[in-house]
């Protein structure tokens, strides 16, 4: 799917360290990202880097986008969550949108417009059959009604990609967040990814032109959901690699210089064991992500399962390893805003979103049974 071979902004990601700086520490504490930075990154195409160049995107393959996602994920999981949402929206538009919609929305999504994605509902998390949001078409208008919870980035978004029932089938519709009938209520004090702008979104008979429904609707809910979610899982998986790399960096740097009983922490065997475990986790998660990206770039039939595997390996390793990193840094890292303190809270959420550990395990078990 990738198309560029020439040099791009993705060749050297060091500029991001400068652009983002020490912001993440503050953003975590105040629970907010600077929206102008989001727009700047968005206009560079960095929030959904796999959008082809003919639509104004960077045309990255999954592997390059993955390394970008890990780089940003290592700096700030809230910011990485925004990338995940923007990328899911772009993936859905690319797959389900008609020609005009792809042209219009992919241009916007790589031009500074911010998108959030509404899947979960109060009564329907992973259980899609329980989805209640309705997308009702009548002539050239469409009416959207429902409630979405925990919509990442909705607080900053200009566009909300909303999934709902379309008669017996399903549809995805792009709702401008300032359309009459849309209410966005930020979640107060989320445990992790605190600046990601998670919100509850209420849609009260929101009327839009029918051209806002991707591809005219009438899609299979399963297909719509899996396509969008698979991108999300790849993104979260690489984001977890970023968390792991940040934890490994912080723990090794600290263990080299901090002395205890007259020698550096690193020379204490029980501490060294934590470092070995962090290193192993980072390597294992990286390999699972590389493998999944390879499947993704080859459009292999098992790409959806590979994404689940990478997400599961990434999230479980990040959650466990972040705890070990806090353990190594002890009081030096036990303050909100610190990279390992953030990792500890953010990584736990990664075991819950885009398919919890348990849902991932069900999918992997089913796959194992089918192929045994």
């Amino acid at each position: 799917m990738a198309e560029t071979s020439g040099p791009t902004v993705l060749d050297d990601l060091a500029f991001l360290d400068e652009l983002i700086g020490t912001g993440p520490q503050t953003w975590d504490v105040i629970g907010e990202l600077p929206v102008e930075l989001l727009r700047e990154l968005g206009a560079m195409g960095l929030l959904c880097a796999e959008v082809p160049t003919r639509f104004g995107g960077l045309g990255a393959d999954s592997r390059r986008n993955g390394e970008l996602t890990a780089h940003i994920g290592g700096l700030c999981s809230s910011l990485r969550s925004i990338m995940t949402s923007q990328g899911i929206a772009a993936t859905a538009v690319r797959r389900f949108g008609d020609r005009a919609q792809r042209q219009r929305y992919l241009g916007e999504l790589t031009g500074g417009t911010l998108a959030a994605v509404g899947f979960s509902e109060p009564e329907a998390g992973s259980d899609l059959a329980a989805m209640r949001t309705r997308i009702e078409r009548a002539g050239d208008t469409v009416t959207v009604s429902g409630e979405k919870r925990w919509v990442t980035g909705a607080r900053y978004a200009d566009l909300l990609l909303v999934l709902g029932r379309d008669g017996e089938n399903a549809a995805a519709v792009l709702v401008p967040s300032d359309a009459p009938g849309v209410t966005v209520e930020p979640v107060l004090d989320p445990m992790g990814c605190r600046a990601a702008g998670h919100s509850r979104v209420l849609l009260d008979e929101v009327r839009l032109p029918a051209s806002a429904v991707l591809g005219g609707g009438g899609h299979a809910l399963a297909l719509l959901f899996t396509t969008a979610l698979s991108y999300g899982r790849m993104s979260v998986a690489w984001g977890c690699v970023g968390i792991l790399r940040a934890c490994l960096r912080a723990a090794t740097a600290h263990a080299k210089v901090r002395e205890q009983s007259g020698k550096p922490l690193a020379e204490h065997q029980l501490v060294a064991k934590h470092l070995a475990s962090l290193f192993t986790a980072e390597q294992v998660a990286t390999q699972a992500c590389r493998q999944a990206s390879e499947r993704w770039d080859a459009a292999a039939p098992d790409m959806a399962v590979a994404a689940v595997l990478a997400k599961h390996v990434g999230a479980t390793n990040a959650a466990r390893s972040a705890g070990e990193a806090v353990q190594v840094l002890a009081s030096w890292g036990a303050q909100d805003g610190h990279v390992v303190a953030r990792a500890y809270r953010d990584a736990k959420l990664m075991e819950i979103i885009e398919g919890s550990n348990e849902i991932s395990e069900l999918i992997l078990a089913e796959h194992a049974l089918e192929h045994s």
């Binding site: 797959r95 020609r99 792809r102 591809g215 005219g216 299979a220 399963a222 899996t226 292999a300 098992d302």
Partner: protein, 92 residues
């Protein structure tokens, strides 16, 4: 490229799809059988199916072509493959 080197006719496509589905779901499937209402197609499998059709017949299935109706049965998928292949040839 691979697709242009071989015949794409209804009989071939239908036969290949029946074999593919029978292998994946572990039981024989009939051309008119409603795969979704029979619960034979899970969310993971739906995506595999699209990718499989694109890959096997060198197609791009996007936008309005992705409606459920086009994937409901082997016969419908066969019609989709033939229609999109014909379109691809006339495009150039």
């Amino acid at each position: 490229m691979s697709a242009s080197n071989r015949t794409i006719d209804a009989e071939t496509v239908e036969g290949e799809l029946l074999a593919f589905l029978a292998e994946r779901v572990g039981s024989p499937v009939t051309p008119e059988q409603d795969l979704f209402s029979a619960g034979l197609v899970s969310s993971m499998f739906a995506m595999q199916l699209v990718v499989h059709l694109e890959d096997s017949y060198d197609l791009e299935i996007v936008g309005p072509e992705l409606t459920l109706e086009h994937f409901r049965s082997v016969r419908r998928m066969t019609e989709l493959v033939l229609r999109l292949s014909a379109g691809a040839e006339s495009d150039g």
